[in-house]
C-alpha cells in the first residue's frame, strides 16, 4: 500500500531555510543557476559480457545500465514486435538509506517511468526485431543499477539506458531448421530517435532543473518530461505530493524541449552517434 511516510535524507531546518532563500534569489546551494544541469559523463562498454553497457554520472548520481539480448516468445498482443524489458534497481551500495529487499514503490516508479520514456518514444524499432513472426523475436533486457544516489535518479537512469542502447551491438540470430542460431556477427540496433528525460522540481514557487538529493528532500512537487529528437513529447510523470499550475506545466514542458535538445547533443557526443 502506498504510504505518505517519507524515507529520504533529512535536511536540517536552517539548511532548508537557506536553500529556499538562495533559490528565491535565482541561485542554488551548489552554485548552479536554476535551469542548469549538473555535469553529465558517460563511460561506454564497461561490461564486456553485456551486448552494450554504460555508466552514467549525473553530478554524483551514478547509474550502470547493461543490455543482454536473447530470443524468446513475443508479448501477448504484440506478436510482431521484439520484446523490450527495462528494469531498474537502487543497490544497497547507493546510500545509507537504502536497504536490501524487494523494490519499494519509488523504485518501481523509477523503472516504470524510465521504461515509459524509452518505449513511448519508440527509440528502438521493435518491428525490426522479429525472427519468426508471432513465434520468435529478439528479447532485449536493459537492466539498470543505481550505484550512488544524489538526486534525479529518473534522468540519470534514463540517460544510462539511452547511452547503452546507442552504443550496443545486437548479435545477429538466424533460423536454421526451426532453431535459433547465433551467427557470431553483430549489427547496430534499429534506432529511430533519442528520447531525453528532463526532471524539474518545484521548491516554493520556483522551479529548478536536475535536483540533488538535498533539493529533492525540500521539494514540493516534481515533473519528468521526455521529448524525442523531433522535439515532440513522449512521456510525462508528475511526482510527489504537491501540484503545479497550468502555466507552470506549460513552462516546464517548454523547458524540457530546450534542455532536452542540449542533453541529446551531449549524449550523441558522448556516444559518438548521430541521428
Amino acid at each position: 500500500m502506498s504510504s505518505s511516510k517519507r524515507s529520504t535524507i533529512i535536511v536540517e531546518h536552517l539548511r532548508r531555510q537557506q536553500m529556499r532563500d538562495v533559490i528565491s534569489k535565482g541561485k542554488r546551494l551548489d552554485g548552479r543557476v536554476l535551469d542548469e544541469m549538473r555535469t553529465l559523463e558517460a563511460e561506454l562498454d564497461i561490461i564486456k559480457k553485456a551486448n552494450g553497457s554504460a555508466k552514467v554520472k549525473l553530478g554524483d548520481s551514478e547509474v550502470i545500465a547493461g543490455i543482454k539480448v536473447e530470443t524468446g516468445e513475443p508479448f501477448e498482443g504484440l506478436e510482431n514486435k521484439g520484446a523490450l524489458i527495462i528494469s531498474a534497481e537502487v543497490l544497497p551500495t547507493a546510500s545509507p538509506y537504502i536497504e536490501p529487499g524487494p523494490p519499494d514503490e519509488e523504485t518501481i516508479e523509477l523503472a516504470r517511468v524510465v521504461d515509459r520514456g524509452i518505449r513511448e518514444s519508440e527509440m528502438l524499432d521493435l518491428d525490426r526485431l522479429v525472427l519468426v513472426p508471432g513465434k520468435i523475436v529478439y528479447t532485449i533486457f536493459v537492466d539498470c543499477s543505481v550505484i550512488n544516489t544524489d538526486g534525479n535518479l529518473l534522468d540519470a537512469t534514463s540517460y544510462a539506458v539511452v547511452s547503452a542502447l546507442l552504443s550496443c551491438k545486437l548479435p545477429i540470430f538466424e533460423i536454421e531448421d526451426g532453431k535459433v542460431v547465433d551467427t557470431g556477427k553483430t549489427q547496430d540496433p534499429p534506432l529511430t530517435t533519442i528520447p531525453v528525460s528532463i526532471t524539474q522540481v518545484r521548491i516554493g514557487d520556483t522551479i529548478i532543473l536536475d535536483p540533488t538529493a538535498e533539493e529533492e528532500a525540500c521539494m514540493n512537487a516534481r515533473i519528468t518530461i521526455t521529448t524525442n529528437s523531433d522535439g515532440d513529447y513522449a512521456a510525462i510523470q508528475k511526482g510527489f505530493t504537491g501540484g503545479f499550475s497550468r502555466e507552470q506545466i506549460k513552462k516546464a514542458a517548454e523547458m524540457a524541449r530546450i534542455k532536452g535538445e542540449q542533453v541529446r547533443a551531449k549524449l550523441q557526443e558522448l556516444t559518438n552517434k548521430t541521428g
Binding site: S2, S4, D232, A234, R246
Partner: protein, 247 residues
Amino acid sequence: MSQTRSLIDKQGKRTDGRTAEQLREVKIDVGIIKNADGSAFIEFGKNKIIVAVYGPREVHPKHMAQPDRCVLRCRYHMSPFSTDTRKNPAPSRREVEISKVMREALEPALMLEDYPRAAIDVYVEVLQADGGSRCAGISAASVALADAGINMRDLVAACAAGKVDDKIVLDINDTEDKEGGADMPIAYMPHLDEVTLLQLDGILTKDQLNECVDTAIEGCKKVYEIQKQALMQKYFGNEIELKEEQP
C-alpha cells in the same frame, strides 16, 4: 503505438458515439459502504469502482505515525474479474505505481496537519475497468474523503485527454487507450487551480500538449460539478428538492 483503424468517423463521432469534447456518463453515489467512515461508488463509462475511506484512526504499525501530521495510505487494486483476461489478484507493479500517484494526487487537497499521529486509509477497488480507471478512482476517492469528514482544501477531480486519429479528445476509453495515439490523465483541484496528477504516454507535439492539458482540465471541471452534486445529494438531498419547488 501505431494505429491500425480509424477511431473517429466522418461525423466526428468516436467508437462509443461521443463527440471529441464529450465525457462518458459519470455517476457517483456517496456513502455506499456502511462500515467505512467515508465511501463512494463511481461509474465512469463502464468503469465501476468502489472507494472506502477509514480514518483518521490509529496507525498500525505504530512506528509509521508522524508526530506532526497524518499518514495517508492508498491502495489501488483491480479485482481479478475486472478485465478481459483474469487479472492476478497479487498487486502488480502497475498497481503499485498507480497507488503512489493516486496518493500524491489526493494529498495536496487534504489538511493532514490537522490529524497528527493518525492515519487515513483509502481503498480503491476497481470492479470493472474501462480505461481511465485511475482518474475515476481519484474522483471517487476525493468524494469519499469528503464524505469521511476529512478537512480538505478542495475536491480533486480527474479526467484524461488524449490523441485519437491525430485529434485531441476528452476522456479516452479503453479502445482509444489501446489503439489511439496518446493518453494523458490529469487530476486537478479546480478551486485552487492546481494540477496534482499528470502523466503522459504517447507522442504529442508542443501545440497538442498544450491543447491536451487544457482539454483535460475542462473535463476535470465537469467531473467536479458531478462530485459536488453527489455530495449535495447525500447531505442536502431533500433540501435541494425543497428549494427547487419554491418559486
